[in-house]
């Protein structure tokens, strides 16, 4: 391992997870503030000590709303901010926002940097977000087709993966069922009843080859994560979860992904993460075999399979048989995946719950703890670039 290990995640916090629209009459800003205060409490710092904000998704809050640093300062009484910036595009930057926080800290621009996502789907739900998008010359080539949500869009990638590699719906089912299993014992999880193969294969097809259970939840809530320099982190409440490496970006061949569909094979039936994974492992000085637990952005089951391939846990095209072998299960698997129940069964806060779970696995206090975890991977995306990855480790 040769990562810089110069910053660490020192605090995590979240609101309760609500079903779509049920967080009303709280506002998105109120939800975000609650998560920020909870993360400060977890870190053992006062909210007035926050001096940096590192967002992703252009500081948007879910769909069509925004977060704003000055508003947070006004409401929470934060006296001065010395860094406020966001990664571009959408959820693909979730894990990468920790790299933005690191950049601020290493540059000496800020000392306690918060990354926050808040969403409330009362006005606009995830499931139809593309159909409701404002018309522009680029999406005029996409929106007439009726691919109204991200799951509809990614079903086209899943079909190509099945065609090229023989991937079966049984593999998608395994992702959905194993992820649900991990949510059963979690008090905050939105789905706490077992999912059976009969449930899965009996569900309605929303965008064939994807059925209801291939789609993530539509959640209201907020999650915040605080990053600080390693020396500072050692003075705080919890053992530091060090940033071993973080990377965001991607290649032109993936580009706007399912918002343009210009990808050729093998990029089309992938997650777009392969170049990010390469940078991530090189910066960390580790490989896929060193990862103890993988928190894989799971908005839709096939994209978990394609990320497992792009992160080198199995060869390209073999993600289906890999998951069908039981490899990603918490109990009995070789690579426990989404031990928190993921976005499919715990809550969907646009990638933030994966970072929280990675921190808890490194601290050793996760509900579904993987014994002896030294390295945890969290990913953001697949989405239009940038997509991102983060490896957390123990303080050495």
């Amino acid at each position: 391992m040769s990562g810089p290990d110069d910053v660490a995640i020192v605090g995590v916090g979240a609101t309760p997870y609500y079903f779509r629209g049920e967080s009303y009459p709280q506002t998105i800003t109120e939800l975000a503030c609650k998560a920020i205060l909870a993360a400060c409490d977890d870190a053992g710092i006062d909210v007035t000590q926050l001096d940096g904000f590192a967002y992703y998704s252009g500081a948007s809050a879910g769909y069509g709303e925004t977060m704003d640093t000055a508003t947070f300062m006004e409401i929470l009484g934060i006296p001065e901010v010395t860094f406020s910036a966001a990664l571009t595009s959408g959820g693909g930057g979730s894990a990468g926002a920790i790299g933005l926080a690191r950049a601020a800290i290493i540059a000496g621009d800020a000392t306690h940097v918060v990354t926050v996502m808040s969403l409330q789907q009362r006005k606009q739900r995830l499931g139809t977000v593309f159909g409701a998008a404002t018309l522009n010359p680029q999406n005029s080539f996409l929106m007439p087709s009726g691919l109204i949500g991200p799951g509809h869009l990614m079903s086209v990638l899943a079909r190509r993966h099945m065609h090229l590699y023989g991937t079966r719906r049984e593999a998608f089912a395994e992702v959905a069922i194993s992820t649900r299993h991990n949510a059963l014992n979690r008090p905050k999880a939105q789905k706490r009843t077992p999912l059976t193969p009969e449930d899965y294969f009996g569900a309605r097809m929303i965008a064939d080859p994807l059925c209801l259970f291939d789609f993530c939840l539509e959640t209201d809530g907020a999650v915040a994560v605080i990053t600080a320099g390693l020396d500072r982190a050692r003075d705080l409440r919890h053992p530091p979860a060090t940033v071993v490496a973080c990377a965001h970006g991607g290649r032109r061949e993936w580009g706007r992904a399912f918002a343009w569909y210009g990808m050729s094979d093998p990029h089309f039936a992938s997650s777009g993460h392969a170049p990010v994974a390469e940078h991530l492992y090189r910066r960390a000085g580790v490989g896929p075999a060193d990862i103890d637990v993988a928190l894989i952005y799971d908005h839709f089951t096939p994209m978990v399979i394609m990320q497992l391939e792009d992160y080198g846990f199995c060869p390209r095209g073999e993600g289906g048989p890999f998951v069908e072998s039981g490899a990603i299960r918490y109990e009995g698997g070789t690579l426990p995946v989404n031990t928190h129940g993921g976005q499919l069964s715990e809550a969907y806060i646009i990638g933030m719950t994966h970072i929280v779970e990675a921190v808890e696995q490194i601290r050793g206090n996760a509900i579904n703890q993987v014994p002896g975890t030294e390295l945890a991977l969290a990913t953001g995306g697949p989405a239009a670039l940038p997509v991102s990855g983060l490896i957390l480790g123990r303080d050495r």
Binding site: P137, S140, F141, P144, R160, A207, D208
Partner: protein, 159 residues
């Protein structure tokens, strides 16, 4: 058993908007022609249309007629909110005449069970809002499989 045939979204509600780079595509569709932009300087196709060739950065473009393509991938969409009886087959089509061009639209008037990757589809045009026409695709007219010959030579058209 009769399966409902696929359609588009209700056409009166389908809207598009254009900019200087994309408008020729939609103007050609109004004339029931499917076209793709090819760089005059280096011959590379690009899609969707943009103001530069991503291979050589030239801004000179020829609009080339394209016709039949093959299904690169597709979905079958049902149960859209408020449109319970609608069946859509959103499709990504590739074109031997225009390497790298992927056009996203719908295959219409087909039993979704008959759609497969690699099948040949032909463009057609449906009226949408604001007097535009939307390029859509149809399966082969006669019952046949995807071993049909595809046209290989692009027809060049002046800019």
């Amino acid at each position: 058993m009769t399966t409902p045939l696929s359609s588009t979204l209700p056409t009166g509600g389908i809207r598009i908007t254009t900019d200087a780079a994309t408008e020729p595509y939609w103007q050609a569709a109004k004339a029931r022609r499917l076209v793709a932009p090819r760089c005059t300087a280096c011959g590379a196709f690009r899609f969707p249309p943009g103001p530069f060739c991503p291979e050589c950065r030239s801004q000179d473009v020829d609009w080339v007629n394209i016709s039949a393509g093959t299904v690169f991938s597709f979905s079958i969409v049902r149960h859209l909110p408020g449109m319970k009886d609608l069946v859509l087959v959103p499709v990504v089509v590739e074109f031997p005449e225009a390497p790298g061009v992927h056009i996203v639209s719908n295959i219409i008037d087909i039993d979704p069970d008959d759609v497969h990757i690699g099948m040949i589809v032909e463009p057609d045009f449906v009226d949408i809002a604001d007097n535009w026409k939307l390029p859509v695709f149809r399966g082969p007219r006669a019952a046949c499989d995807s071993t049909d010959q595809l046209p290989a030579v692009p027809e060049k058209e002046s800019t």
